[in-house]
């Protein structure tokens, strides 16, 4: 064989072996990444948010690290569902006793047009001052509801999809309560109507598990 062709063949062979070797080296690193990608392709609940608390202060999700979070959504011009939920959250805190200090309930408004920080404060004070109210710009509320998979829509009674009859509006909204861990990661949900007893039991179990 022509020596030049031989040299070329060896070079190509070496390159192929080298490439194969490199690929082999990177393979174990790629696999876990692929696994992570697969699990994060499912819905990730929660995540970073920028909102305004009921004292008017700008807050982010990081301000609540270290606490378990009990996140739920509603609006203060709601005479039926939201008072029931706030009462149940308050009762859950009472049942947790001293462990309640590790849990921070967050009431996020789906009605930023009417729910000012002061309005939220006035409303929540009637139930339990340990609950923190969060509102924000319509864009901020849109972002956080999207991250939690929360549906909400203004209903003014005009198209049969809900509302009031006095010329104002109500807000249809998802009724789930979310439990997030001290690291900000999603833990579980509680459906509307879950008793304070059951919620306190489940939260206490999560606290115990986390040490």
């Amino acid at each position: 064989m022509n020596p030049r062709i031989m040299a070329l063949a060896v070079a190509i062979l070496a390159a192929v072996v080298a490439a194969g070797g490199l690929a082999f080296m990177f393979l174990p690193v790629m696999a876990p990444n692929q696994q992570q990608a697969a699990s994060s392709q499912g819905p990730v609940i929660g995540g970073p948010f920028e909102l305004v608390d009921d004292t008017g202060k700008a807050v982010t999700d990081e301000d609540f690290r270290g606490d378990f979070l009990l996140v739920f959504f509603g609006f203060t011009h709601c005479p039926d569902v939201c008072p029931t939920t706030l009462g149940e959250i308050a009762a859950t805190l009472d049942r947790l006793g001293p462990q309640a200090g590790r849990v921070q309930p967050l009431f996020i408004s789906v009605d930023p047009a009417r729910d000012t920080p002061a309005g939220l404060r006035e409303y929540i004070k009637a139930f339990d001052p340990r609950i923190v109210g969060l509102t924000g710009t319509p864009e901020q509320i849109k972002a956080v509801t999207k991250d939690y998979g929360v549906y909400y829509a203004k209903a003014d009674g005009s198209d049969g999809s809900g509302g009031t009859s006095d010329g104002t509006y109500s807000v249809n909204h998802s009724s789930i309560t979310y439990l997030m861990g001290p690291d900000g990661a999603y833990l579980r949900t509680f459906s509307y109507g879950t008793s304070p007893e059951k919620m306190a039991e489940a939260i206490a179990a999560q606290i115990a598990e986390s040490g």
Binding site: T76, P79, D80, V81, T164, S165
Partner: protein
């Protein structure tokens, strides 16, 4: 008869004359029981009142209207949950079947009190007039419970 015995009978008689059970108001075959409301929070937010209605008659009736001096506008509303989404809307007239009952409670039917003229304060009462198609109008006295109360009358509430 000894005076003390007469006095005792008078006192006991008075005690039994007072309503020993929960509040009940009647018009025709309709009786409205245990009217209660949640305390309002400020006056810019609507209030909610709840009643139990029994129709002792042989014909169905319908609750068609509500009004109260404490509210500029009062209406029948209903909360419903569809696929985890809470929705509230005007319910229209509420049917009360012959020999039947309708219980208004949180999560279901309620009387929404809008454009409040005075705050609904826990521990007070206010008048509310319910108009029925057949039985006509009946004015009840509504007891204001805590803001998160789940029941009125002779239960205890979780409002505080």
């Amino acid at each position: 008869m000894p005076r003390i015995l007469i006095a005792a009978i008078l006192v006991l008689g008075t005690a039994f004359a007072l309503p020993a059970t929960a509040a009940e108001f009647r018009a025709g075959d309709i009786s409205v029981k245990d009217p209660w409301a949640r305390a309002s929070i400020g006056t810019s937010r609507p209030g909610a009142a709840f009643v139990g209605i029994r129709n002792a008659g042989a014909e169905a009736d319908r609750l068609t209207g509500v009004e109260s001096p404490v509210a500029g506008h009062a209406d029948l509303h209903r909360t419903s949950m569809v696929d985890g989404v809470m929705k509230m809307e005007p319910s229209g007239p509420v049917a009360v079947p012959a020999g039947g009952m309708v219980m208004m409670e949180p999560g279901g039917y309620h009387i929404m009190l809008m454009k409040l003229k005075t705050p609904l304060e826990e521990g007070t009462t206010f008048p509310l007039t319910l108009t029925f198609e057949r039985a006509g109008a009946v004015t009840v006295e509504v007891s204001v419970m805590g803001p998160g109360a789940m029941g009125g009358g002779h239960g205890h509430d979780s409002g505080d």
